[in-house]
Every structure is written in C-alpha cells, then in structure tokens.
Amino acid sequence: MKKLFIIGLKDLKLTFRDKAALIMMLLAPFLLTLGLGFVSGRFSSNQGSVISNIPVVIVNQDEGQLGQALVDIFQSRSLAELVTPSVETDPATARQLVDDDQASAAVFIPMGFTQSVIDPKAQADSTTLQIEIYGNPTRPTTAGVIKTIVDEFISRVEVGRVSAEVTVSQLLAGQLIKPQEAMQIAMTIGEQSAATASTNDAISLKTSTNSGAEIQFDVLAYLAPGMALIFLMFTVTNGGRTLLNEKLQGTLPRLQVSPTTSSQILGGKVFGIFLTGLAQMLILIVSSTLFFRLQWGDPLGVLLLVMAAVVAAVGWGLFLTSLVNSPGQVTAFGTAIMLLFSLLGGGFINRQILPGWLKTLGLITPNAWALDGFQTLSLGGGLPDILRPILGLLVMGCVLFAISAFLFTRRGFVKG
C-alpha cells in the first residue's frame, strides 16, 4: 500500500513539473471559462444572474386551464427577469421569429392539451400530451433554460394526473364512490392540479439553500464545470499515456524487477492519475471561486462529486490506454474522446436540447453525470440530491477499471 502511494505521488509530482500538461490542465480551462464568461456577458453585470430577458414565443392553442397555466408561468413575476414572453396565435409566425433569431425558443401548446391530461380516454393517444419546443440552435443555453421550465411544468402536471388516477382507483377500490362518478372526480382533481401548476411561484429558477439563502442561476456555474470536465478528460488520458511512456523509457521494466508487485505498480499509476485529476479539479474550483466569485454549492457535495467524476474519468483514461499501443495513440484517441464526451456530455452545449437518443448516449460520459450534479449543487441542491450522479459515476469508474485491468493483464502489462 505504501509503494502504491509513493508511485502515485511520484506521478503527481512529475505531472506538475510538465509545463505543457499544466497549460492544458489548468490554464486552458481557466482561460476558456473566462472567455466564455465574457461572451455570455457574465462579467458585464454586477448581478449573479447573467441569463436574463430570454425572448420566448408561446403559441397556446389549448382551450383548457393547463395551457393557460403554462402561459401564466412564463408571464409570472418570478420569471420576469429571466424570460421575456410574447404570445402568438400563428405557429408559423412563432417559428419565423425563432428562425430570425428574435427568440430563443417557441413553445407550442397543442389544442386539447388540458383535455388530454384530464380525460382518461384521450391518454391513449400520447401525441396529444406533447408540448412542442422549437429551439434556436444559435442560443443553446437559453433554449435549454426554456426547455427546463417546460419540463418542470410537465412534470408537475404529470404528478397531478397520476395523483388523480391513484386517488380515483383507491376510492373505487374502497367502494367510496360509484364507477359512474369516477370520471367527474378525476376531472375535478385534474382541474385542481392545473390550478396548482398555474400558481405564480410554481416554477422558478431562483432557488434557496437549506439555510434560506438565495441562489441565483449563474451561466458560469454551467460553463466552469463543463470546461473543467473537458480538460479532466485530457488529464486522465495524459495520465494513461504516462503508463505507456514508462514502458518506453524503461522505468516500468525497472519497477517490474524491483520487489514491487504488478498490482502495486498499476494501483500506483491509477492513484497518481486520480490525484492529478483531483488536484486539477480542486484548483479550478478554488480559482473560479476566488476569481469569478462562482458559487459551486455545498462544499461536501462538490468534493464528493469531484472525486466520483475523477474516478469515472480515470476509468476512461485507463480503458483507452489498455486498448492502444503507443503514447501517440493515447494522445490522438484521448483528444477525440475529450471532444466527443464534451459534445455528448453537455460541455459545449446544453445536452437537454439534444435528440433523445443522443441524450441517452451521453450517459456513457462522466461529463453528463457530473454536470448534472454540479448544476444541482449550484442551484442549491445538497448531497442527497446528487447521490444519483455520484453513484452513476462510481459505477462507471468501477466497470471501466475492471475491464481495463483484464485488458492490461491480457497484454502482459500486469503480470499475474
């Protein structure tokens, strides 16, 4: 165990003496975050919330309460700073406004939406339940915010619908109502849910911590973790590269003829990559907190999430290294994976606007899980709220470690 730590600390020391690696690990993500912060206007305002006045067009063709409830939410006081809604009757006009870059997104509430939710007969036709969002591809972040608001609304409506179903089922099972009364009662509960959903404060991007302190949505809280995670992938692939480099420069064979077991050597290398990734993430978090006054959220949650993200990323770094033959190949494939994972995992664009299958595919990336957790924390969430991403990242890391260890053993890197 002691040798494992010594090897890991040696690798950490060597990485922090490599100027090129330091530029990629620390300077590049810091400068990119800074640049994107300027582009997004984060530094042009004294306020924490720099995404504001998002132009959104709403086309409400629903005659019922739910459609109006969603319009009311967009027009509510709590979202007054964040969105600038306009209501249109013609869908084509709304799409044109988005195409002309005059709106971040258009929201189409279909005719009969409320009825389809409340009337069980209509539920068989699932298309009637869908609210369409027409996003502006040039404004991915703000389009993502609109989608988040709509998702939250639909989620609440769905909760109301299920509640109504369960309530009616229970009443019927207990013979407290007659079957012919079920429809009327379900509609009443649904209408009440709709009324609840339309409450002004029902949906807000301003959240509060447990202590009651107000947390504001900060675009940098999305960008900074995204950039850090992109370059974390560089760090772990670079770490994997050192394993192949050690073989080339003769230090790995020298380690193998010392009284050091193969598992100590591989464990030490993994520990070194983990330490390097962890140090990189923590330095970026501390520096962005100091220089950008960025609120990452619950410190314990951030620390545990970072550790889990690094475990998953190291898993990928090792897996990649176990497949290739030379340090050059690790660099080439590592760069490709870094960019691919950034796209799929939401580092460059909000993954909420990606097609469903791409969103699902994105779950293979540490970026997606970790970003989900970081966003939750920055919006005031605590440790219990990020257990799912932490667990997902740890499972990913463990599976990749196991596969990599098998492949390393098969290739003779690790002697039995």
């Binding site: 020391k13 003496r17 380690l255 003829v257």
Partner: protein, 314 residues
C-alpha cells in the same frame, strides 16, 4: 565460494524466434562473470529472465537458492539491475530518483537518506544531487542509472551493457567502479559486446552467439581454444572489394582462417609476422590498397572468430 547463480537450460522463445537456446552456467559468489557476444546474441534476454522480467519458456535458474520462476519476489530482493538503456525519471533530480527507487526496494527513513548520500558520493554526483537528471550529460545519467542498482546493496548485480554510447572517460569510470564494487564483495553479471571490457573485468567469461552459450571459462581457458594463434587484421577503404581477397588469402599456406568484417579481414595464423609478406603480396596482386595493419595476441576476439567464423562486432 558457493554458487550464487545457477542457470539450468534456460530457453526463451518469442513467437517463432528462439532468443535463448537452453543455456546453462553458474556464477560463484564474489565473481565478475561476463556474457560476451555481439548484438542480438541473447545477452539482454538472458538477463531479463534472470531478473524475473521475462518468464522463461523452459528451464529455470536459482539465485541464492530461490527459483526465478517460483520465488520471483525473493529473487528481486537479492538482485540489483542496471539496464542497458537509461531507466530514470528525467524530470526528477538525482536525489529524488535515488530516493524513489530506494523506496521501491523497501528502504525508508534514515537508512534511505544515508544510503542515497553514500550512492551520490560513490557516483560522484553529490554536488549535482538537486539537479534534474535531464540536465545531466550522458555519462552522468549512466552513473545515476548504476547508482539505482546499488541502493539496496544487492548480493548479485546485473549490468547489461552499461557503457554503450558513452564517452571514454565515463566508460573508464564505470569499469573502475565495477572493479571497486567487486572488491567490496559484490558479485557481478556483466554483459558486453566489447572484448576489452570482458578481458579487463572478468574472472570468467561466457561467450554467447545466436542464443547459444558457445564457450565458457577463464580467459586463459578460452584463449587456449585457439592455441597460440595470432590474429592479423588488415583494414581497407570502403570502396575495396575485400570478399574476393579474403577467399584468396584463405588459400595461402599456413592460414587458419580469414574472415571479412566491417571493411577488414581478420586472419588467424600461427605467426603473424611470417604470414604478413605473402598476404600483402596477394593483396597487391589483386590491386587492393591496405589502409592499416594490426597484429593481435591471442584474445577473446580471436576465440569468438575461431568459434563462429565472424568478428565479435559484426
């Protein structure tokens, strides 16, 4: 002295290539034993198996009574390895390198730090201890490379061609240090393709070629194999066709063997001075100009030539 190393019919195959073809030898405690042979003879593969880096295809060896196959950890604790190529962390200082490798051999605390100081003194780099290895000359790096192998005071030191690619001064220092280590009681297995190094250092020499151990013994025992023969070496310019000349010289009376290597013909004869006149005459007849002539006493080069028909550095 008891045998510290017993090698028993060691074989190593790499796919279709047999790199080591069943070699057997022993090394006594306190001995300097050289494996002498040209590049690709199987010296490094042999050391790699003995140091537990490669698993032998068949055969076994024991070091201090421990099998390299069944007890690799015990073997590793007994041996020090100085690899042919530098195996150091260039971004770390000499002291950091020695400290790290010392830790890998289980040294710690004051023992480690005093041992690192001793090694730095021994390799003459105390004043450069805090400098990164990447700033060192080739010779200095070689010295650190050797120092790493000595940290834990091994019973048996493997040195795999430690003088390859360095300046004569550093080479001299390394050869002297090997002799000093041996005087202090360390057993050394030294591989080289330089005949002079094997002659200068070794108590006994094993000559290897194409994975076979073709001769083994003290220098006296080995040179006896070529009798009292001398070697006459003629050197030519690159443009000369010496193959035809060698074949012609071979036919002269009294010539034991004439072999071409590296624009030179090595001729084994009972009396070099007597053979010189007819050889030069034949050379002139073929219109070939001689650049220089060497006459060598019986040595390991002649033994290798005698056994293989090729020069050692071919």
């Amino acid at each position: 002295m008891p045998d510290i190393l017993i090698v028993n019919n060691l074989v190593k195959k790499f796919e279709n290539v047999v790199a080591v073809k069943g070699i057997s030898f022993t090394i006594k405690e306190g001995e300097i034993f050289s494996l002498l042979g040209p590049n690709g003879a199987g010296k490094t593969t042999t050391i790699s198996m003995l140091s537990t880096l490669f698993q032998p295809t068949s055969g076994d060896a024991t070091i201090g009574g421990h099998s390299i196959i069944r007890e690799p950890m015990q073997v590793r604790r007994m041996i020090g390895v100085v690899p042919q190529d530098l195996a150091l962390y260039e971004e770390m200082t000499a002291r950091e390198n020695l400290t790290f490798w010392g830790q890998m051999y289980g040294l710690s605390g004051k023992t480690l730090s005093s041992r690192v100081d001793e090694i730095l003194e021994q390799i003459g780099l105390t004043d450069r201890a805090k400098h990164r290895v990447k700033t060192f000359s080739g010779g200095m790096k070689r010295r650190v490379n050797i120092g790493v192998g000595l940290l834990h005071k091994p019973n048996l030191l493997f040195m795999d061609e430690p003088t390859v690619g360095i300046d004569p001064q550093s080479r001299r220092a390394i050869l002297d240090s090997v002799k000093d280590l041996n005087k202090q009681g360390m057993t050394v297995l030294y591989t080289t393709h330089y005949m002079e190094e094997a002659q200068e250092l070794s108590d006994r020499v094993g000559i290897v070629d194409h994975g076979d151990l073709i001769a083994l013994g003290t220098q006296k025992e080995l040179t006896k194999q070529v009798g009292e023969m001398e070697t006459l070496v003629l050197h030519f310019d690159e443009s000369e066709d010496v193959e035809k000349l060698a074949a012609s010289i071979q036919k002269l009376p009294g010539i034991i063997k004439a072999d071409v290597s590296d624009h030179a013909i090595a001729i084994i004869v009972p009396e070099a001075e007597e053979a010189l006149a007819p050889v030069i005459t034949r050379t002139n007849e073929l219109g070939i100009k001689v650049r220089s002539i060497d006459i060598q006493e019986p040595n390991l080069e002649a033994v290798f030539l005698h056994l293989t028909g090729r020069a050692l550095r071919n």
